[in-house]
Symmetry: C2
Subunit: 355 residues, 2 copies
């Protein structure tokens, strides 16, 4: 069995406690012991999302299922949805919103640059939803959220936190985020398979009564989560819930602020080291994610060959997307992978391959 | 940690090989080693579904996501969809199809009785889709499929195999099934979280170009599965794919026919034993599933109390649904749970509780 150090754009290496939890004996999805663990997972998600939202849950699919759940439950045909696009996941939001038959108003910025929040706020006088990606996994750029919450007016603020949650500050309540979703396989140190999600009471009042997706229907899912009802909807992915519960436990035991600091320190060291190797970082300074670094390959170097050689040595990094495709790499330091030893290893190994 | 014997309507107890596979070190979703394992999972699924369909894959959600993927990818607004309804999952199909804006033509039969295939075939002169549940998890009834494939004409035949796959014969190609989906947590002996699915070439030619679900868009997912393309769509749920791969390996090592025989023998022994205890079986004779038995509680017995006492002793069985709600139980013998020792245990324990 290969056991690579996972330094791509996700998945990251899971925490050992998470791997142990995956092996826990299976319980039924209506067993009171499992339901207590699911409730506790909700509590832990509230702590990590920094919210008191009662409707906080793991969606039974990967991060992209979280994106879809977010749109189908609040967007009605003809609704104006303003979407910030400065990478692949902003593009994806436009696609998902258009399949809900929304009127999509795009606000584009260059890949690698952040989106100016005032442009998003000025894009339409009365959007139903303003949607943006917090941490663009395709470019390593952070988009600012707080100003959007302050200026959103009657709109709902919908934020993709797939790569940000657990790695950099995400303040759902303080920033006025109405709908946020994440992935498990980035800064939470859990294998891919679930999408943590939280919905404000304000957004909850506007939920579509019968969304086009039955599987992601939050109204129905809520009746399973409700301890007074426990109405069967679909069978929860038990083992993955164990894993998420354990991963959130690790993050909260460490302390969320300390986890952010660990990501910040690793990302800073990695980015400094890459520049010291003579490489050029792709994302705009001041908006670089510590947990995901995009970097240009030296001219004349076959970036794919470099990745293959690193992988053969047991280290995975990711290729570029969009303008970075074929021209550079995306290097993650997320979750359990966010350790100084991995930064040291990657810089040394990359240095060897490029020498 | 509790480790109940799972004899409800699913999840069943996973095979030990499956639990070991869950603990395998994580690989990236574009790692060639993972992609080879994913391809092999497709091969194993083809063997278990008895099909040569190239488009055979695990959907990244539970069985109900498989149902949704099946409908959204072939149903267009206004399409006539004939649905057989003799239990909860037939009802669910109507709900899912209506969210695709289909014109749903219901063919109802009593819960506990099978649906006469000729009624489904006669329900409409030119339906786009005929949809039926093979093994109704809510009642323990088997609906006959073969006659539908023979008489479907231009319609696509869509079959829910969630509880049948691996437990009783499912012959996708021989029966002319165009779209079939299943769950992992029933007769395959894998925790819940994925939905095995297969699509005939005939159905593939009719796929909706841009289905309302982005996450379940089979056209896009195909480009990730395609070994020549490997276009990123969403991050595969790696650990669950390991688990499914291992579970299918166990089933195929045993031999599919032998696995069916094991389920048949366990179910037969269980049903005979329940009748010997003086209990009345709910599903119509001749169409009883061996892997899932519905049975009425004796008059005057609190069925919920019986379940609670069994669970306290480490044995889970399920409550009834629909006409069986509050009046009886659903007892599963599926996957790794389908062992004579578990039948012996359950009959003895139930006998004690009812004494």
């Amino acid at each position: 069995m290969s056991d690579p150090v996972l330094m791509g754009p996700g998945p990251s290496n899971p925490y050992p406690e998470v791997m142990a939890a995956l092996g826990r004996p299976l319980l039924g999805h209506l067993d009171p012991e499992f339901l207590a663990l699911l409730d506790e997972t909700g509590d832990r998600l509230r702590a990590v999302f920094r919210t008191t939202n009662p409707l906080t849950l793991p969606i039974s699919g990967t991060g992209s299922a979280g994106m879809e759940a977010s749109f189908v439950n609040v967007v009605r045909p003809g609704d104006v949805v303003v979407v910030g696009v400065n990478g692949l996941f902003g593009e994806r939001m436009c696609d998902v919103a258009s399949r809900c038959r929304a009127e999509v108003v795009r606000v584009d910025a260059d890949w690698g640059a952040p989106i100016d929040p005032s442009r998003l706020l000025a894009a339409h006088p009365s959007p139903a939803v303003i949607a943006v990606v917090h941490a663009e996994t395709s470019t390593g750029v952070r988009n600012d959220i707080e100003e959007l919450g302050a200026g959103k007016g009657d709109a709902l603020l919908l934020v993709d936190c797939v790569t940000s949650l657990g790695g950099i500050p995400v303040e759902v309540d303080a920033w006025g985020i109405d709908i946020a979703y994440a992935g498990t396989q980035k800064c939470l140190g859990v294998p891919p398979g679930l999408a943590p999600m939280t919905v404000s009471e304000r957004a909850r009042e506007r939920l579509v009564a019968k969304p086009q997706s039955w599987y992601l229907d939050l109204g129905m899912i809520s009746r399973y989560l409700d301890s007074g009802a426990r109405t069967y909807h679909h069978t929860a992915p038990i083992s993955m819930v164990y894993a998420l519960h354990a991963g959130l436990g690790v993050v909260l035991d460490e302390g969320l602020e300390r986890a952010w600091a660990r990501h910040r320190e690793c990302g800073g060291a990695l980015q400094a080291g890459l520049e010291k190797l003579g490489l050029e970082l792709f994302a705009a300074e001041g908006h670089r994610l510590p947990q995901l670094t995009s970097v240009l390959a030296p001219v004349g170097v076959d970036e794919k060959e470099v990745r293959a050689r690193l992988l053969a040595g047991g280290i995975e990094i990711g290729g570029g997307l969009g303008p970075l495709a074929g021209r550079g790499w995306r290097i993650g330091c997320m979750g359990h992978t966010a350790r100084a030893r991995n930064v040291t290893l990657l810089l040394a190994a990359l240095g060897e391959v490029l020498a």
